[in-house]
Structure formats: structure tokens, C-alpha cells
């Protein structure tokens, strides 16, 4: 059995030190409670915001006018609008300017050209909701602020499970991956905030099918929050709805809105009717509106689609280059330089990437709390309020405040109780079995098999269908694979055990997605059912929730909150 080497306790445990996690930690500390962040890598450079982002979705009254509803509406009409509970997006937007100002005061430049400047993902003639900023050093700066506020940071510790009492959350189990030999840490906490980011490595890479880590968002984010919350009975929402980003091929990286250019067919015709000449003020919005465009043009043979930056003024191209560094794209930019690729001269092919979990996941209430009392969640891992970087920063902050309030008024579970916890013991034995096993079957084989099954039996549009038959077959094969992995996957050291547990989390998510997709007996967005080809208007303002009860998935429809 892998030994338990640490017993820790804290008021608020933050799982994942990305954007949402660091924000939550700072705000919870500001409310005066003890905070511990457990991060599987290092908060200085972890997660999807590792080396930068450059668009912060927010509402700034002096720019947008006094009525927040105008911006709420714009958010709901954007490409991330479908899975939002309105009161949550409203609370997020109302708080967003405070967080923007805080970031600026900490030295993250939120005022390029000395003003609040909105550009990117913008429609001609519509209010703009993305504040352009310079996020190159956001992670080191947020880490410094979290430390300054007095939060403790436990780097190189992956949270592998949560534990609870009947009354609510009790803490979490961490795997210490700082050395070669794994060990566990049991962390008791009055409140836990899940901030583990998006879910990648679920589907076969669209760009480079042989690889696991060529992903648009951080491949170290593997939907832990969804899987772990599910395992202790919390409710998830909108899990069947996929997100697909688009960008260059074959080096997969998000950040499409940082590119300034026009999308064209190979014969030079414009892909969309929105913009004929791109500037830094207004790029081409076509692929936000026509999300499947890059795939459609391949499917019907009129493609591929290119982004043409060659008509963009030189000054704006220089601006784009600077913005790409802020956006965390230096790996890509350096590679382009090495290869002699110059946006002024070369048109780059753009394509859609594989599906991922982002903004579909843990269901929270207006305070960021789940239906397990004391368990909160924020950022890419939540299922009913998506706003990416800005959403993570702002809802992280809200969760920190709310968790601190709750923590101040409740007690830790006693240490003896945690020691006797049957669920924790079972999970430790389960994870230890992979470490103790002599077998050569690594986690990579299991992860690839999961991707094969998801891509064959639970794929998403355009040009792929789901059906009762396919999903049933997929669930059967997933169970078979789980049995194989359960007896044959081996993890000889801490690092490989971390990857193996990530794969187990992803498997749970695959299963949840298939159960939910089966229940959604209609076609909506990229969820295309060959056996239910219509969009059912009766489901327009409904969300599908799913949770686990006595080992079985329970799905339910609820009204989307609109008030």
C-alpha cells in the first residue's frame, strides 16, 4: 500500500492553482480564513493560463453604459452562451470590473494604450465584451499575490479524490508527485473549492491522432473536478454538450481571436460575409458564428480554409505578434520564426480541434456552491456559467468569499473520522493496486483506448452522429476497458500513477458524457442524434443534470435559470 505520509488540515482547500484557484485563494484569505492550494504542477506556470492569455470577458460600466443586461445578453448570444444560468452570468459580470482593477493594481497590464480596450471575438456594430490585456506573467503575479495574502501552496500534489460526511464535504486525498516514490496526503478541510480547469485527452487528437499532448488547452487538465465530484454524488450539468476550439494545424493551440486576418477559401473567396479587411479593432468573426466552418469546407471539398493576414497593416501585425506573446503562444511563434513562416506572407490553414470539456461540468449555485454542502467549484470545470479566463478569475473570487463565510461557521471533521473513512481507504487501495502491479501496460494504452471509444461511439458534430445504439455500444466497451485497466494498467512511479489516475478520471467523464448524451433525445448544437434528428423546442430552456446515486447514473431535466 502506498503510504500516507502527511495529515493536513485547513479551513479552505483549493484544488488546482490555475486562474480560478489562485483567485479563490486570495479572496478566501482576504476574508481571514486559512487556505491551502493543492496543485499537481506548480502554480507559477500551470494550467491553461500558464504562459498567458489576452482576452478577459468583463463588464466595465464606463465603457458599456449603466445597464449590465446589455452585456448579459451579448454573453448569452456569444459562442459560450448556451450553457449559462442567467443569474450566474449576471453576478459574474457585475463583479468582473472589480477583479479587472485588482489585476491591474497587481501589475498585470489590463489597460493597453492606457485605456480599457475591447477587441477580439467582436461583431461589427455590437457591444464588445472581451477586454484586451497582457497576461504573459499572470501566473507568477497571481502566485505572488496568493503568497502575500498568506495562502499555503502545496505544489506537485494532485488531488485524486474527495471525501464527505452525510452533512457535506470533509476534505480530499492528495497524491504527492514531487519525487519518484508516490505517497498520499489526507487533507481535512471545512470547505473545498474545485478549480481543476478543462477536460482534455478525452477524444483522439484531430490534428495528430498519434499524440496525447497536442491539445488546444492544457493537457494536464483532465476534468478531475467533474469526475471527483461525481464520485461523491455531486450534480453535474450540460456534460453531453461538447466544445471544439479551432486554430492552426497541425500544432494545436487555442487563441484564435488573437490572430488578425480574414478566412478564405483556397480560391481567395471569403469564408464569411462579416469583415472584408481585418484590423486589430475588428477581426473576422466567421468561425465564431459558423462554428463548424473549418470542418464543413473540408467535408464538402471546398476547403481547406486559410487565415489570410497579408492585407493587415504592418503596425497591426506587429501588435498581433506582441499579443501572441501575451496569449501564451511563444512556443508557436518561435516555431513559426524558425520555419520562416511570416503571417504577412503566408496564409495558415485553420481547422477545428477535437472536442473537450470546458464550461460543462460541476453544477454550482449563485455562490459557487455545489449540492454537496461546503463543496464549491469555479472556472472551466463548472457547467452552468462559462466565461473562460474572466469567468475563472471572477467566479474563483466569489467562491473564495463564500467558502470563507461558510468555513468560519463550521467545524473540521475529527482526524479519527478521516482515518476510519471507508471510502478513502477503498480509494487508496485502488490507486495502490496500479503501483504494486507488475505489468507493462502503461496508462497511455488506456488513455488511447478511451479516445478511440469516445471518437467512435460518442463523437460530435459536424459530420459525426450519436445514437442510442452507438452510445450503448460505447458504454459496453468502456466498461470492458475499465475492467482491463483495473487488472492490467500499471504505474511504477509517482509520475505515471498521476497520469493513470488522470486517465481514470477521464474514463468517468467519458461514461457520464455517454449517459447524458443518451438522455438528450434530440439534436442540438454539436450533439447530433441520428435517431432524433430534430431540435426539440420543449427543451430550449432546459438543462440536463446528471449525478450518481448508489453507483447508478441519475439524469434529470431542470429549467435553465433565466430571471
Amino acid at each position: 500500500m502506498i503510504p500516507v505520509k502527511k495529515h493536513l488540515s485547513t479551513d479552505v482547500l483549493v484544488v488546482g492553482g490555475g486562474i480560478a484557484g489562485l483567485s479563490a485563494a486570495i479572496s478566501a484569505r482576504a476574508s481571514g480564513v486559512g487556505v491551502l492550494i493543492a496543485e499537481k504542477a506548480n502554480t507559477l506556470r500551470s494550467g491553461s493560463g500558464a504562459t498567458g492569455n489576452d482576452h478577459f470577458l468583463c463588464y466595465i460600466p464606463e465603457k458599456h453604459g449603466p445597464d449590465v443586461s446589455v452585456i448579459v445578453k451579448e454573453l448569452h448570444q456569444s459562442m459560450m452562451g448556451a450553457s449559462q444560468d442567467v443569474p450566474l452570468s449576471r453576478r459574474f459580470l457585475e463583479k468582473s470590473f472589480d477583479i479587472v482593477k485588482l489585476w491591474h493594481s497587481w501589475g498585470i497590464n489590463m489597460r493597453i494604450d492606457d485605456d480599457w480596450t475591447f477587441m477580439g471575438h467582436a461583431f461589427p456594430g455590437r457591444p464588445r465584451i472581451f477586454l484586451k490585456y497582457e497576461g504573459d506573467d499572470q501566473k507568477p503575479i497571481l502566485t505572488r499575490e496568493a503568497k502575500k495574502a498568506g495562502a499555503d501552496i502545496l505544489n506537485h500534489h494532485m488531488i485524486v479524490d474527495l471525501f464527505r460526511t452525510r452533512d457535506g464535504i470533509a476534505g480530499a486525498l492528495a497524491l504527492d508527485v514531487s519525487g519518484e516514490a508516490p505517497s498520499f496526503a489526507v487533507i481535512r478541510a471545512k470547505c473545498v473549492i474545485l478549480a481543476t480547469g478543462s477536460g482534455n485527452r478525452l477524444y483522439t487528437s484531430r490534428n495528430t491522432p498519434g499524440t496525447l499532448f497536442n491539445t488546444g488547452l492544457c493537457p494536464g487538465c483532465t476534468a478531475s473536478a467533474q469526475a471527483q465530484a461525481w464520485r461523491i454524488g455531486a450534480t453535474l450539468v450540460n456534460m453531453e454538450q461538447p466544445v471544439r476550439h479551432a486554430g492552426p494545424r497541425y500544432f494545436t493551440r487555442v487563441g484564435k481571436a488573437t490572430w488578425i486576418g480574414i478566412y478564405r477559401y483556397p480560391d481567395g473567396r471569403l469564408l464569411g460575409p462579416f469583415v472584408t479587411k481585418a484590423t486589430k479593432e475588428l477581426g473576422d468573426i466567421t468561425s465564431d458564428v459558423w462554428n463548424s466552418s473549418f470542418s464543413d469546407v473540408m467535408h464538402n471539398g471546398t476547403g481547406p480554409a486559410y487565415i489570410d493576414c497579408s492585407d493587415v497593416p504592418a503596425e497591426d501585425l506587429a501588435f498581433m505578434r506582441r499579443a501572441m506573446a501575451s496569449e501564451g503562444l511563444t512556443g508557436l511563434v518561435n516555431y513559426m520564426d524558425e520555419q520562416g513562416i511570416d503571417p504577412a506572407r503566408h496564409a495558415m490553414e485553420f481547422g477545428q480541434f477535437e472536442p473537450q470539456l470546458m464550461g460543462h461540468g460541476v453544477q454550482i449555485d449563485i455562490n459557487g456552491e455545489t449540492d454537496v454542502p461546503g463543496l464549491f467549484a469555479a472556472g472551466d470545470a463548472i457547467g452552468n456559467c462559462r466565461a473562460d479566463l474572466g469567468g475563472a478569475a471572477v467566479y474563483g473570487w466569489i467562491c473564495g468569499e463564500e467558502a470563507a463565510k461558510r468555513a468560519a461557521a463550521c467545524e473540521l471533521v475529527p482526524e479519527e473520522e478521516a482515518e476510519k473513512d471507508a471510502w478513502l481507504a477503498e480509494r487508496m487501495a485502488h490507486y495502490s493496486s496500479f503501483h504494486e502491479r507488475a505489468s507493462r501496460h502503461g496508462w497511455q494504452e488506456v488513455n488511447r483506448c478511451l479516445q478511440q471509444i469516445m471518437s467512435d461511439y460518442a463523437n460530435v458534430g459536424p459530420h459525426h452522429v450519436r445514437s442510442e445504439n452507438l452510445l450503448n455500444a460505447g458504454l459496453k466497451y468502456l466498461a470492458d476497458m475499465r475492467a482491463l485497466a483495473g487488472t492490467q494498467m500499471a504505474a511504477p512511479d509517482a509520475h505515471t500513477l498521476m497520469r493513470a489516475i488522470e486517465t481514470l478520471d477521464l474514463m468517468d467523464c467519458g461514461e457520464i458524457i455517454m449517459h447524458a448524451a443518451r438522455e438528450r433525445r434530440e439534436t442540438r448544437g454539436m450533439h447530433i442524434r441520428s435517431d432524433f434528428t430534430f431540435t426539440n423546442p420543449l427543451l430550449n430552456d432546459k438543462f440536463l443534470t446528471i449525478r450518481r446515486e448508489r453507483g447508478k447514473p441519475v439524469t434529470a431535466w431542470r429549467d435553465k435559470l433565466t430571471a
Partner: protein, 81 residues
């Protein structure tokens, strides 16, 4: 081998290994050696190691199958008119 460390520049500080979001390197502080690129297939090519190495000792070797697909933009213009 995605990240490549220039051994003549490396001062064995361990920064790259500590901050890599994907824990690609293996480094033991006691050994004072160049970090080992132990899990090259798990590199995300985020360039955090390149940005944070105090010696500028790390560069990325992008796999050949990540080739960026492009054409001369003038080709689009010829047909566009």
C-alpha cells in the same frame, strides 16, 4: 525530444523541472546535474521552460508531425481578383 537543454549553459538550478506544467523533466537537486527530459511525449510545447530558464538554455524541438500547414498568401490573391 521536445525540450532540449544546452548543457554548456545550464547551471542546474532546477527551475524548468519545477515549473513545467506537465512535469516533463526529472531533476534531483542533490545531484546538481542537467535535468533529464524524462517524458518528452508529454510536452505541451507551452514554452514555460524556455521563458523561465535563467540561462536561456532551453529550446523546443517541435515534432515533425506538428508541421504548420500554410501556403503563400499571394496564391490566394491571384485567384481572388
Amino acid at each position: 525530444m521536445p525540450p532540449v537543454i544546452d548543457e554548456t549553459k545550464c547551471i542546474h538550478c532546477g527551475k524548468c523541472a519545477d515549473i513545467c506544467p506537465l512535469s516533463v523533466f526529472f531533476f534531483r537537486r542533490e545531484e546538481r546535474a542537467v535535468p533529464e527530459v524524462r517524458y518528452p511525449d508529454e510536452c505541451w510545447h507551452c514554452n514555460a521552460c524556455g521563458l523561465d530558464c535563467p540561462q536561456g538554455a532551453v529550446s523546443l524541438q517541435i515534432p515533425l508531425n506538428y508541421m504548420l500547414l500554410r501556403i503563400e498568401a499571394s496564391q490566394l490573391k491571384q485567384t481572388k481578383e
